[in-house]
Amino acid sequence: MAEYPTLLQTSLVATALKVLLWPAYRSTDFEVHRNWLALTHSLPLREWYHEKTSQWTLDYPPYFAYFEYTLSQLGRFADENMLHVSNLGYDSWNTIFFQRATVIVTEAVLIYALYLFIQSSPAASKKQSHAAAASILLSPGLLIIDHLHFQYNGFLYGILILSIVLARKKSGLLASGFVFAALLCLKHIYLYLAPAYFVYLLRGYCLGPRSIFDIRFGNCVKLGLGIGAVFALAFGPFVYYGQMEQVFSRLFPFSRGLCHAYWAPNVWALYSFCDRVLIYGKIATMKVPLKDGADLRLTAAPYLKLAIDRDAVNSVTRGLVGDTSFAVLPNISPRMTFILTLAAQIVSHPLKNAPRQQKLKPNIQTHQPALIKLFFTPTWHNFVSTLTLCGYASFLFGWHVHEKAILLVIIPFSLLALTDRRYLGAFRPLAVSGHVSLFPLLFTAMEGPIKVAYTVTWLVIVLLAFDWLAPASPQPRVFLLDRFALLYIAVAIPLMVYCSLVHQLVFGARYEFLPLMFVSTYSAIGVVGSWLGFLVVFFTS
């Protein structure tokens, strides 16, 4: 029995809307990709990672460069002029139409992957899978980032989902590994998900099902050789030219700051927010309003004579892509974020004293950290959960995280959200905060109504549909997650009104950072909340 509307029907209507968005606002990422089209088309391979006529140098791995090269071969027929490296900022109508069209066309990979996802799900959960697939296909995140801001996430996440779906069957594990390796060579942000893949493939493919000492050497060789070949194809030419150092310096620019110009809603946003509040406390001495539990410490800052780094006061709010320094709180180094991220991915989470139902259901595995849990019970469900947790960890603790990286959490989580009602409880605040946090990407008057109307419509329809479809959970509800979600969603409305209208009316152009800070702090609370919720659900089920 087919579910309506089918993916094809949904994607056709979505495509109509996306085509209408062609002349809409596009960020500098549009020029970035045009430049890559130009440089891959007009320069020999060995100059790709050295070229720096434009400030937007090639900083994606080689497969993406090959992908741009392929597109540029078609681009010739649209407008030859966009393929000149020196033609900076070139944006004829044909260039815009061509580039926008490539985003839509390459999204077919996502549609195909979602189709396979529905096909591969058991009959009992077909309906749920269909709803989850449709929600990803229509995701406001993809609409805002790909079809307005301009990137190729639909295509890339399509490959990710393809790899996840392949991993569902034993026979697809090898192919899944290859596809993921290829994905890493398209965009290295997916490295954050690699630990989950590593553990899952190691346990599920390289070791026998009965014992971890039952090593399958044949499989190890196949996987190793295959992945090696994928990487060799990507980096081989650059190894040959002896450019690996140059390539890596482009791929991993650690000179960037802890927070992006606009703070991604993660732990560092909360950290920066606390720092701001402390500055305020220091400057206005003792005039910090009493708000919540953290007050004692916050109001104490001026009295504790915490040193304020004068130069740092403006740094976060200046909105430059550069180093962020904190005025009151200690600065964070890249190494610290790396360790924290890894720790959040591997090390046990502070749940020892948490939920009550653990007593009801004593289970050794409930206390295990994610990757170890995945190692001992390598089910597909645990795999996707661990992917989600890896996404969370990297987003929350990573160095120079972009707000766009929230898709790394939302998309794998969407595949799980309909497992049962408890998962849905954790998904709700994420769906709201993750998409609201993308709003500052679009700041033009014309696009404002689109992002708000689209996201609100999507949230209403998806959250209601999920609510109808999510089966009851075998375990009782945890915490007051549902209440938290409801309160949280309710706060979004006055916040949006303030940020888009009231602030401008009251302050005009002054304090421009204030709405941005509120949005990212609000979203950070939602993401952290949903992370904690998800941890509880994952480790108690």
Binding site: Y4, Q9, V13, L17, L20, A445, V460, W468
Partner: protein, 594 residues
């Protein structure tokens, strides 16, 4: 039915899940399962199973139609970067400029050459209100004389937003109510009427003209929908008020006037003469017209009191006033008011313009430009008399029918065929005016069996053909892509060619079309597709540079003529006139209508 004078009737709750009858689902004979008859229904499928409440369904529909409208708004508007005259966008902006800055007595006298105000007073008041709001945001947008031809991105956003806001205040509530009234009358469940509502709101022609080209037609169409809704709800007095508003917003609403008048007259004389109702209708209509002109007159009073002189470069008294059979003293107290009144009427009805403008798919333009018979040799008064005679001939049958059989089911047909008659035969028609006959015709989707293949195919035929005849206009506005997207999307959603042929494969029992209709439709669609291919790849011969446009006009006019005949035929069929003539079964029918 209870008399309209009853002030309160208990509200009947709409049944949400009554058995479907409207052609939205088809039975799959192999699987013995219902499935959506066309893609639009598929999008409502989850709502059917879960029995979603209207409180969720309606906001979702409205948000979606809003999104498509706003996304169309991103595209260029008419006259964008086309000096010296620009286009309709500049006209509307200029009206806001002049109404907010000039004294009321100058509105209808101000320079006609640069987009002088030539719409009825309600448009002027609307422009004034929007201009006042705009002045609060940025006074430069409407600075007197200095803002001509202004092309500011923020101004575009503001103007686009005013179109959408006006539409959501007038057209959309009226459409929702009108579709509900139709659903109640034809016993259609809420789920199916939501589908019909979406189909009506997604009409590509209206979106393209209002949000692409830039006009405020939906305000006028919205008042017309309100008029229709009131007539369906047996509230003729309210319908008079709304119809005056329709006319007061755009004189083009005259396309509907004969049918509205005939229906209102019909319910006064049948089934028995109802003098109080007739008097009521007359008084309310006159009072509404008075209210329409009241602000203009009050402004005149104020200006006379302040001694504001009229502009010096104008003809006073206006030609219409000099044409009056008696002479009026300039000293008379009512002189300034009469000047304003006659001047506004003179502006609103420009009798001096030609038979048709540009290229429009009506009879005159088709006959003239196809070379069958050149019309430029004739005297314009002769042509206008011929146009009048032909228009009268075309609207007499539907109007007479609705006059003598004033039944609510016939209303959409009467309105549509009258409007088609006007569009095809009357004087001074624009290609954009095709959205007037389209509105009542598209309303048929919300009537009984409205989404069965036969009616759906005919409504779709008219809509798609209409969009196509506007293609040359849209190309000038650089709206080629929105045209293909929105028309294609609507055709796809409704399961119509060129996206799907399932409406043409249905058997007669499932509400399929007859062979003649199939032949007409499919050949027209083939013509449209071939035309698009030819227009895109083949240059018109040098001696006939307008070949493609002329071909468009001729095929369009033929198709619209067929639509007119279809509406008329369906109306005759539905009215039971044939039964009356042949079998004398009219009495039964009449009893039913009582």
């Amino acid at each position: 039915m209870s008399p309209p004078s009853a002030s309160h009737r208990p509200r009947k709750k709409q049944k949400t899940n009554a058995p479907t009858s409207n052609g939205t689902t088809t039975l799959d004979h192999l699987e013995k399962q219902e499935r959506p008859a066309f893609p639009l229904v598929a999008f409502f499928w989850p709502a059917k199973a879960a029995n979603v409440s209207q409180w969720i369904l309606l906001p979702s529909i409205l948000m979606t139609v809003f999104l498509f409208r706003w996304c169309t708004s991103i595209w260029p508007y008419s006259g964008f970067q086309k000096p010296p005259m620009h286009g309709d966008f500049e006209a509307q902006r200029h009206w806001m400029e002049l109404t907010t800055h000039l004294p009321v007595t100058h509105w209808y006298f101000h320079n006609l050459e640069w987009w002088g105000l030539d719409y009825p007073p309600l448009t002027a008041y609307h422009s004034w209100a929007l201009g006042r709001i705009g002045n609060l945001i940025n006074p430069d947008w409407f600075a007197l004389y200095l803002s001509r031809g202004l092309e500011d991105m923020d101004l575009k956003v503001f103007m686009r937003a005013t179109v959408i806001a006006s539409e959501f205040l007038v057209y959309i509530p009226a459409a929702v109510i009108c579709v509900r009234k139709l659903a109640k009358m034809h016993n259609i469940n809420a789920w199916e009427s939501s589908i019909a509502l979406t189909a009506i709101l997604m009409q590509p022609a209206t979106i393209l003209i209002d949000h692409g080209h830039f006009q405020y037609n939906t305000v006028m169409l919205g008042f017309m929908l309100a008029t229709t809704a009131c007539m369906l709800a047996s509230r003729p007095f309210w319908s008079c008020v709304f119809f005056v508003a329709t006319l007061g917003f755009k004189q083009m609403a005259l396309f509907y006037a004969p049918a509205v008048a005939a229906y209102l007259a019909g319910i006064c004389i049948l089934p028995r003469l109802d003098i109080p109702r007739l008097l009521g209708i007359t008084i309310i209509t006159l009072a509404s017209f008075a209210a329409l002109f009241l602000p203009l007159m009050l402004g005149t009073l104020f200006d006379t009191y302040r001694n504001v002189p009229l502009p010096t470069d104008v003809v006073i008294p206006p030609p219409l006033m000099s044409a009056l059979p008696w002479s009026i003293s300039e000293k008379a107290w009512y002189y300034p008011y009469l000047v304003q009144l006659t001047q506004s009427v003179h502006r609103i009805f420009p009798f001096a313009r030609g038979l048709f403008e540009d290229k429009v798919a009506n009879i005159w333009c088709a006959v003239h430009s196809s070379g069958i018979h050149k019309l430029n040799g004739y005297d314009s008064s002769l042509l206008s008399r011929a146009a009048l005679a032909l228009t009268l001939a075309s609207i007499t049958p539907p109007c007479a029918l609705i006059l003598f059989k004033p039944r609510k089911e016939l209303l959409p047909y009467a309105l549509a065929s009258t409007a088609w008659g006007f569009f095809l035969c009357s004087y001074q028609v624009h290609e954009k005016n095709v959205i007037l006959p389209l509105l009542p015709m598209t309303l048929l989707l919300a009537t009984e069996g409205g989404m069965k293949p036969s009616i759906r195919a005919w409504v779709g035929y008219a809509n798609i053909l209409a969009c196509w005849t506007m293609f040359p206009l849209l190309v000038r506005d650089e709206l080629r892509i929105p045209y293909f997207v929105l028309t294609g999307l609507w055709a796809y959603l409704m399961g119509l060619p060129p996206c799907s042929f399932n409406a043409y494969t249905a058997s007669k029992e499932d509400g399929g079309l007859n062979v003649a209709s199939k032949l007409i439709h499919l050949s027209t669609y083939a013509g449209v597709v071939a035309w698009h291919v030819a227009e895109a790849f083949v240059a018109a011969p040098a001696d006939k540079p307008d070949l493609w446009v002329v071909a468009n006009v001729c095929l369009g006019a033929a198709g619209f003529g067929i639509c007119y005949l279809w509406c008329l035929w369906r109306m005759v069929e539905k009215s039971g006139l044939l039964n009356d003539l042949d079998l004398g079964g009219g009495r039964m029918d009449e009893k039913k209508t009582q």
